[in-house]
Symmetry: C2
Subunit: 268 residues, 2 copies
């Protein structure tokens, strides 16, 4: 008998977000789903871990099994997405197995270009990748709390089917960004690279009535790609396609390593 | 007249840590130093940003200028290392300039191998790199609060001299790890790659008297390199050398991108 597929799901918008509910529902067609989601929103947490505070867990909020879909269990954790992924993996290890797949999202907001650097959604996929679990982040390009997920459901399944059939190269995870447009307007799916860009003018400076200075982080995205650069992920999404970027956890720049090796000589 | 070099310094151990004091002192030989350091320790924060809370700043704790060394000013911020780097860069931008160099550290604890993924020290260098500022993280392989920094001072200067002379490739930052051994025992400096490894058995599970479950993150490092792999950064440090790894902020895996582009075809 074929073992039921085990899927670990997390996100960075927290367990209340619509995106993770849609994702968990979609993934139950693929197997048993274990959700370990942050109790509070955790946007911008990157691969941050919580080392200096205890991680409070709520034991399953939901535990259900049906005839037609995979089982579902839902935990919440007072931590980051990477904490959630680590803890979820350890729940499975405690049961003497590993998840067959980790999916993080569906993030409300783009994780294309420089957003991928700060993304908590992708922080969780980094963690899955360290455990050699095929790991994918799904994001939709809107902060709307209740976006149209039809395109994600339709095309997301095709992406999942491909990953489950072919696997991913060791140490690589996928960052998938969906345009926030109706399914019928989506033009297709494209492999892409992490587009170049950064945030500038990030701070709104304020002063309290007691004279304390503080800042809220805001910022405007500054695109560093040539107009229409066809393979930069944020441009791919802007032109109505779904972008898939394979990211690596080994971030060594091997060319620069060789260049500096030849160039630099040190005294001892 | 040559403009004095401007250097931005931060860390993830917080402004009280010995490492940043030693670093700021060393860098004053190279120019004017502006420190923007976290108020509280921020280990494991990766490239995390604070989007959901105000960032409280303490205006200069220290402001001094001497005849023989560069000036020094020190701010503290209630945020992460990446927040500190961003805010520091914005202080400079407000003065219509950019720092010529960003140095983060000296971290108390290794940032070699998988630690580089979680490192707040390197989170700050990522931020500097996004602004095209040559950025370096310095770490020493011990959590001792008062380690012997003689080797860092001696060899760190050589590394700084090289970076200031040759620059770094765009989108690349350096992760420098020093062994925690006396200067005379350090065998030299080696270019290296991010070594493969991960943490396992990460959680210490406890239960409160009220029956709440919680975890402290701990974990043991599991080395995934062959014994003695000569270019993995954590092995380089373990064998008595200083490791320098150039890391990239574009983490696209271009080979996997091309492979999947040929392999996958989607319906629309």
């Amino acid at each position: 008998m074929k073992k039921t597929r085990e899927i670990l799901v997390t996100n960075d918008d927290g367990f209340r977000a619509k995106g993770i509910h849609v994702l968990a529902g979609m993934l139950r067609e693929y197997g048993n789903v274990t959700v370990v989601a942050p109790y509070e929103p955790q946007s911008g947490r990157s691969v941050s871990l919580t080392l200096d505070k205890p991680l409070m867990i709520e034991r399953p909020l939901v535990e259900e099994a049906t005839e037609t879909l995979g089982s579902l269990r839902v935990y919440t954790l007072s931590g980051t997405p990477a904490d959630c992924a680590k803890l979820g993996i350890n729940i499975f290890l405690h049961e003497n197995r590993l998840p067959d797949l980790l999916v993080s999202g569906i993030n409300h907001g783009s994780n294309a270009s420089a957003a991928s650097i700060y993304s908590g959604t992708l922080g969780a996929t980094v963690e899955g990748t360290l455990y050699d679990i095929p790991s994918i982040g799904f994001s939709i390009n809107t902060h709307d709390e209740n976006p149209d997920f039809e395109g994600v459901l339709f095309y997301g399944r095709q992406i999942l089917d491909n990953v489950l059939r072919d696997g991913l190269r060791k140490n690589v995870y996928l960052n998938v960004n969906f345009p926030a447009i109706p399914k019928d307007q989506i033009r297709g799916i494209r492999m892409a690279r992490q587009g170049a860009g950064r945030w500038v003018r990030e701070f709104d400076h304020r002063v309290t009535l007691r004279g304390k200075h503080y800042f809220w982080m805001v910022g405007e995205f500054e695109d560093e790609e040539a107009v229409g650069a066809p393979d930069a992920d944020h441009h791919v999404v802007d032109s109505g396609y779904i972008s898939i970027v394979p990211h690596r956890i080994d971030t060594t720049d091997y060319e620069e390593m060789e260049r500096l090796q030849k160039l630099w000589h040190f005294d001892s």
